[in-house]
């Protein structure tokens, strides 16, 4: 996600420094696309930021449930192996 966000920012920088947004442009389509893209990038920043925050919060979770899941998983795997042999 992070590389995507960085790539979008770089794309945006290249876009605003191109001729699409020149002041004398007769049609607003370039500005419309630029605004939409930038707004979307802003939203994506929030999106990724929120997801990383939630993931960090999940990392602080007590490991009890995860341990139980792993134990069940290992038991299932062991059972499947016994059945095969």
């Amino acid at each position: 996600m992070l590389p995507v966000a960085v790539a979008l920012c770089v794309m945006w920088l290249r876009f605003v420094t191109s001729d699409t947004l020149r002041r004398s442009a007769s049609t607003p389509w370039g500005a419309l696309a630029a605004g939409l893209a930038l707004g979307f990038v802003q939203g994506l920043m929030l999106w990724f930021g929120l997801e990383y925050f939630l993931e960090a919060r999940e990392s602080l979770r007590h490991p009890k449930a995860a341990r139980l899941m792993l134990r069940y998983h290992d038991a299932v795997a062991r059972q499947a192996q016994n059945n095969r042999s």
């Binding site: 920012c9 607003p28 707004g39 960090a56 449930a65 899941m69 134990r71 998983h73």
Partner: protein, 335 residues
């Protein structure tokens, strides 16, 4: 993304959980670091926006550029957030992957899965335990205070509580759907009610914004609700800082009425945004140092960073043959 990820196979997810349990501190640090980095980028983005505005403001500027840019900017971000909410609505409806897998493996095991809880120490226990009474330890305890796993005495309890938790979380998806609809409607609707200026969508509103660009005084005639922060506020701010000096004002409306001879608006009127006084104080379209709450971050930056650029509209040079743009330095200092 590991614990909340829906990508990859179940085996890969199980391995990711093992990795997390082996080094939970590293996982936490990495994700908090990425979060802070993204926040920093979010702060830097308005600078890019200011860059875009800067290229569109000037004497020869086409006002439609600013109008389109502002409108699209206001639409793009809520659309991304609507997509985010929609994704989370689906994710919450399905339930957390950890719990889903725990229940699935438990059901596959049958009655063998139920037993007394056996405590096995992992790195996660060591990390949380070693933090003691530190801030981090208290943070961990605070975040997991409502964790159902802590209430469970046996494995069977834990699975039963996980089932209840997944079921309870399904209700949250409706909340996220509501948030999604709210974000999706934001470009047109504001604060829960149709915005007067944008109620009819862009097609009807943009010509009005165009008129606002030609004359900020005329723009005050738009019945904007108090506190509405929409494209037109941006556009009018842009007009004040860029277009006002460049586009000749119309003195008469199509019906022959005078735009300038309009009734005075009371300063206590909630619809009075202070634009009149702003225009009187800075009549040449200079960037204003006033931070009125209706202007966008970009325009505040514009005002804060590019003030000297407009000085040539205020001062004249007395030195014969001097071609400098910034002519009367003494006056500027006094100003």
């Amino acid at each position: 993304m590991r614990l909340l990820s829906e990508r990859g196979t179940d085996e890969e997810y199980v391995e990711a959980v093992r990795t997390w349990l082996a080094n939970p501190e590293g996982s936490w640090t990495r994700h908090i670091g990425a979060f802070l980095l993204l926040v920093a980028m979010g702060i830097a983005l308005p600078l890019l926006i200011a860059k875009g505005y800067e290229r569109m403001i000037g004497p020869e500027a086409n006002p439609w550029l600013m109008i389109s840019f502002s409108f699209a900017l206001r639409a793009g971000s809520p659309l991304a957030l609507a997509a985010f909410s929609l994704r989370w609505a689906v994710r919450v409806f399905r339930g957390p992957r950890l719990e889903r897998l725990m229940i699935r493996y438990h059901d596959e095991l049958g009655s063998k899965g139920d037993g007394t809880h056996v405590r096995d120490e992992t790195a996660a226990d060591a990390w949380i335990g070693s933090a003691g009474n530190s801030l981090l330890s208290r943070l961990v305890r605070y975040t997991s205070r409502k964790d159902y796993a802590l209430k469970a005495q046996t494995d069977r309890d834990c699975v039963a509580l996980a089932r209840a938790s997944v079921k309870r979380q399904k209700k949250l998806s409706f909340f996220f759907l509501g948030v999604c609809a709210n974000f999706a409607a934001r470009p047109v609707f504001h604060h829960g009610a149709p915005c007067v200026a944008a109620a009819n969508g862009a097609r009807r509103s943009l010509p009005m914004a165009s008129a606002a660009c030609v004359s900020p005084s005329a723009s005050l005639r738009l019945p904007l609700p108090h506190g509405c922060q929409d494209i037109f506020t941006d556009t009018r701010s842009a007009c004040l800082s860029g277009f006002q000096g460049s586009i000749p004002l119309r003195t008469q409306t199509a019906r022959g009425g005078s735009l300038k001879a309009r009734p005075e608006r009371s300063r206590t009127d909630p619809q009075d945004l202070g634009m009149d006084r702003l225009a009187e104080a800075f009549p040449y379209g200079c960037a204003t140092p006033i931070r009125h709450p209706q202007s966008s971050v970009a325009l505040r930056l514009e005002a804060a960073t590019h003030m000297p650029r407009y000085s040539h509209t205020h001062f004249s040079c007395d030195v014969a043959g001097c071609g400098c743009a910034l002519r009367d330095v003494a006056s500027l200092r006094d100003f």
